[in-house]
């Protein structure tokens, strides 16, 4: 029977030392002196029984336990036998020790007693605290009782000021993503659009988890696909065949979901690109910035994909400026080519009739304004002649990969 594996002890001692070091950094000078004195005393005590402990423990346990039915081939039985005397010793020692320890004694006087008491101290935590075996913690705890510095695991202890300070100190050293509680992060993420969230989620595992568990994705899913949750009383309130990883599923389908209203835009029909979510500068959206100094990501990255309706609303509130060369007149054919306007929408634009067989010309600026309104900004006008097939191909590929992975 070995008292304890030396590796365990040293590693936990190192841990403890680190903890102590951090604690000491923040202490008052007077407290520091007291603790160094305490540490010196405890070191002296520990030095005495360090080498013979293994031998003495074996001897003592043999003395106490009558060696009657003990078969060496059965290790569990052997261990059980030894647990008993240890516990009794511990109880005995702790009682007996309390009195002499109140009076400071020289180490030589204690040494005879200590070999015994140290043994029990080393042994007992292994049996008594099964879930969290940290021998030195309880050791130190006992030693510090007199000095009223209870050294307990700071994550569980709530009472003593020493632990509170230590915990705060440790807490402050953590990176910000672990310090802020999840509810605060999700509160922060309320203000972000899905594409921004996807960027934030790549920062660290913690943030990835927080983003992954936002209920935003369920909202997007339900709203975007017009799948009204069926009030099913027996099993699930929500639709039973929800995708396993909502966030990923939403990401995969991101091309056809408006980031503002979460509407699902059907992109199957060709020529419907202007109806699909198109990137709009984030500045235009109704999110005034508290602090402008952190604008770092290039403008192209801070664009939010908005559907036609949302784009119209945005550009209504923030009209785009007129280009310099727009105040001329052009024919109906030119307007149709440039701004993709139909016959109906051209009606009513200020026109100039040319004599001598010249065609009727329309005021360009007015036509542009009308086109912007119709297609949702310049970006919508540009998108009209473009094809959807490439984007749809990308999106279908993503959804295919998602299904492959998560079913």
């Amino acid at each position: 029977m070995q008292p304890s594996s030396p590796f365990d002890e040293t590693s936990s001692n190192i841990e403890l030392g680190l903890l102590l070091l951090r604690l000491l950094q923040g202490l008052e000078p007077g407290e520091l002196e007291r603790i160094t004195a305490l540490a010196a005393a405890s070191a002296q005590k520990q030095r005495v029984p360090a080498s013979p402990s293994a031998q003495t423990t074996a001897e003592q346990s043999q003395q106490v336990v009558p060696d009657s039915t003990n078969s060496p081939s059965n290790p569990t039985a052997e261990q059980d036998q030894h647990i008993m005397p240890d516990l009794t010793q511990y109880r005995f020692n702790s009682k007996a020790e309390r009195m002499p320890r109140a009076v400071p004694e020289p180490a030589e006087v204690q040494s005879s007693k200590l070999s015994l008491s140290h043994f029990s101290l080393q042994r007992t935590p292994r049996q008594t605290t099964a879930p969290d075996p940290e021998p030195p913690v309880s050791d130190l705890n006992r030693q510090n009782q007199l000095d009223r510095i209870a050294f307990v695991d700071p994550s569980t202890c709530k009472g003593c000021t020493c632990c509170v300070i230590l915990r705060q100190r440790l807490e402050r050293e953590k990176p910000i993503d672990k310090r802020l509680p999840v509810e605060v992060w999700s509160r922060i993420f309320q203000y972000l659009y899905p594409s921004q969230l996807s960027r934030v989620s790549l920062v660290s595992k913690t943030l990835y988890d927080v983003v992954d568990r936002l209920d935003l994705w369920l909202k997007v899913y339900l709203q975007g696909y017009l799948e009204v949750p069926v009030p099913n009383i027996d099993t699930n309130i929500l639709k039973p065949d929800l995708p396993k990883r909502l966030m990923l599923y939403v990401f995969a389908r991101s091309f056809s979901i408006c980031e503002q209203c979460f509407r699902f835009c059907d992109g199957e029909t060709p020529g419907r690109l202007p109806f699909m979510p198109l990137p709009v500068g984030e500045r235009l959206l109704l999110t005034p910035n508290v602090d402008e100094s952190h604008t770092r990501v290039s403008e192209s990255k801070t664009k939010i994909h908005l559907c036609l309706n949302c784009r119209r609303a945005v550009y209504e509130a923030h009209p785009e400026v007129a280009p310099a060369d727009v105040f001329g007149f052009s024919t109906k054919k030119e307007l149709k080519e440039m701004y993709h306007l139909g016959d109906k929408s051209i009606q009513g634009i200020t026109l100039r009739t040319g004599g001598n067989g010249e065609p009727v010309k329309y005021f360009q600026w007015e036509a542009l304004k009308r086109a912007r309104q119709l297609h949702g900004g310049d970006i919508g006008i540009e998108a009209v002649p473009k094809s959807l097939s490439k984007s749809m191909k990308i999106m279908n590929g993503r959804i295919f990969r998602y299904r492959l992975k998560y079913g």
């Binding site: 996807s198 989620s201 602090d291």
Partner: protein, 159 residues
Amino acid sequence: MKVTLESSDGQVFTVDKEVAELSVIIKEMLVIEQANQDHPIPLLNVGAVELAKVIEYCEHHRNDPTIDDDEDYDSRKKPIEMDDWDKQFTIVNKEMMFELILAANSMQVKPLLHLGCRYAADIVKRMSPTEIRDLFQIDDDFTPEEQDKIEWEKQWTKL
């Protein structure tokens, strides 16, 4: 009527009751502990520096109507009500804004929490992941396999 508050490092602040009651936690504490108000109210998670700032904020907003605390994703669209004082407050305390968020969260000072979250969102949404990591000294703790796994999730904006 005055109320005394004690920060985690033992500093005591005396504020008006209505100022302190902007914090939901303190408000509830005051209801419970009406009898003995000689003791300062301990705030174990709030340091003195942060508490001073929180009190400064509460002093300024003492007469504000209470806002309803709805956690809704439509809040992205809502314009933020922010006066010049608030703007100045965030810019001056830029360095410790996250500490203030924590303090506001533990004291449940709702308007300050909103302001802080708004600010944090502003920072976070404009940066690339690497920049965020640099700014807050966050470790990139994704394993290579996880990196591969999330590789195609990055594609949201690339169309």
